[in-house]
Symmetry: C2
Subunit: 310 residues, 2 copies
């Protein structure tokens, strides 16, 4: 494809086209990814998640700006699994772009597809591969909300920053929702608000359990995007985690583990495609009728199909 050639010549418009192609799962998007894959593996991916209202976007923009200022190609992928709007997001992207200093080195992409569930996490991962292959040094993945889909999305990242605010109830809810497990760095944003120190100690106590099990310090950083405090410390801790992963070999092991999972996922899809082609639509309706009439069950029917194949 001509667009891929342009992409490989660092054409920004081709980048946008390839991302759309992959995000929309357009024709032969897998071939596109297969071609880009060998060029990927150099970008460092940082995930940002936390409850709504924690100030994620502002913080992500500030962190991104720091990377841009030191000359790094920096991409932001903002994913909102609960929003059906993509048009509005485009406007939002432009507003955010205007906040960044070196826009020539920046790229912002909003992804929002309601109800696509697991598909959204997989699309996010693939868009990362595209940015990575293009030569981006840093990819910041930001997700809105706290649910299983958001956790799956942020799992693509190498370092996960969980952003909380000084509201005790919210913090505990967030921890319950699985954020505790996935966090590498905790960030208490809006820490100029009252009670921040108390909440920071609360988080610290909860994190202690995690610390005892691992060999990473799981730092709790207090920031205020508004007042500009703690941001350097947050950047330092993210970098420290990156160094930790690389020096201990964890980075490579994690990457390999994720590749294994990915191969499995593709394998499942391909096998099902193959089955469909081989035995027509394998008479699904007849299978359903047998179950409805009480003669069979979904397990037995699935086993019968596999039996016919091998």
């Amino acid at each position: 494809m001509a667009v891929i050639d342009k992409f490989l010549q660092n054409d920004r418009r081709a980048l946008a086209k390839v991302i759309s192609h992959v995000e929309n799962r357009a024709e032969k998007y897998r071939d596109v990814l297969a071609r880009l894959y060998p060029k990927s593996g150099k970008a460092y991916k940082i995930g940002f998640t936390g409850p709504p209202g924690a100030g994620k976007s502002s913080l992500v923009d500030i962190i991104a700006d720091g990377y841009l200022k030191s000359g790094e190609l920096t991409g932001i992928i903002a994913v909102d699994p609960s929003s059906p709007f993509t048009g509005g997001a485009l406007l939002g992207d432009r507003i955010r772009m205007a906040r960044l200093s070196n826009t020539g080195n920046a790229y912002i992409r909003s992804m929002a597809t309601r109800g696509s569930g697991g598909g959204l996490a997989s699309a996010t991962k693939d868009v990362c591969v595209v940015l990575d292959a293009f030569g981006f040094d840093k990819i910041l993945i930001e997700t809105v909300g706290v649910g299983q889909v958001e956790l799956d999305i942020v799992d693509t990242a190498d370092t996960v920053v969980v952003i909380l605010v000084p509201e005790s109830g919210d913090t505990i809810q967030a921890m319950k929702a699985g954020l505790m497990e996935i966090a590498d760095v905790f960030c208490l944003n809006k820490s100029d608000r009252e009670g921040a120190d108390r909440i920071a100690s609360e988080i610290d106590m909860m994190v202690d359990v995690k610390r005892r099990m691992g060999d990473w310090a799981y730092p709790v950083v207090q920031t205020s995007a508004l007042k500009g405090t703690g941001l350097e410390e947050l950047r330092t801790q993210i970098l420290a985690h990156q160094d930790f992963l690389k020096s201990t070999g964890k980075f490579e092991r994690r990457r390999k583990r994720k590749l294994r999972v990915e191969i499995y996922q593709h394998l499942q899809e391909l096998l099902l495609d193959e089955v469909k082609t081989r035995i027509g639509d394998f008479k699904l309706d007849e299978m359903v009728e047998r179950i409805v009439s009480g003669q069979s069950d979904p397990f037995t029917e699935a086993e019968r199909v596999v039996g016919k194949l091998f």
Copy 2:
């Protein structure tokens, strides 16, 4: 298995054992389900979901009690995807059991497994099959929280009741999170609170879009579990939806559609098992190495495996 024979003789202890067996995906649980499947298909499943603090459990208990009083075997499955606690839930089950009038006809089961994601929805569905096969008339599925996992869980139900409270922000958040789509009946609980009428009209307006697209009325019922108001109306609307589904043939079509999806899911699992057996562990590590060294990509590797098989 002896326990299945006892189960089929209506033994309550055998019911509990079979449910545990299926929930924990213990050895040969699929065979157990396959044996029970032909006996299922008669229970009516009602899902209850909504944001935390909406008073779901109290409402579910009251609705269940109504069914119990009219002599129906009624099961409650309470699923909390964010909670790692199962021991505590057991105590909770006993407290709830004490609130019901005819406990001989009731069964309560809490399911809580953090991070099992899609697995939890699938386990909920299977536990429904067990209760259904045992002869339960009504199965009430209650989920805590609002995320993709909760939506998947409640998707097992025939009628979905979305429970909201008179707090405008919460309502809009809940609607955004996908509750709007899955709801058949809207219930505004704690409607004795101030502003209930206004919020009810707000919901009504949002629901109007849905009404225009379908042929069901999507009622908005105001209840107060505390004061005992609106509960009869809620019960009536649930029954009206059941009648609507059955008289229009939607009930059967939905059941068949869900069976198709289920057959596909089993097929995928079985195919992957088969592949693993056929080509050893198909040298996953070598595949990963080829990708890491930039010689290949996950798609190509998956295709190679499928190519070897067929």
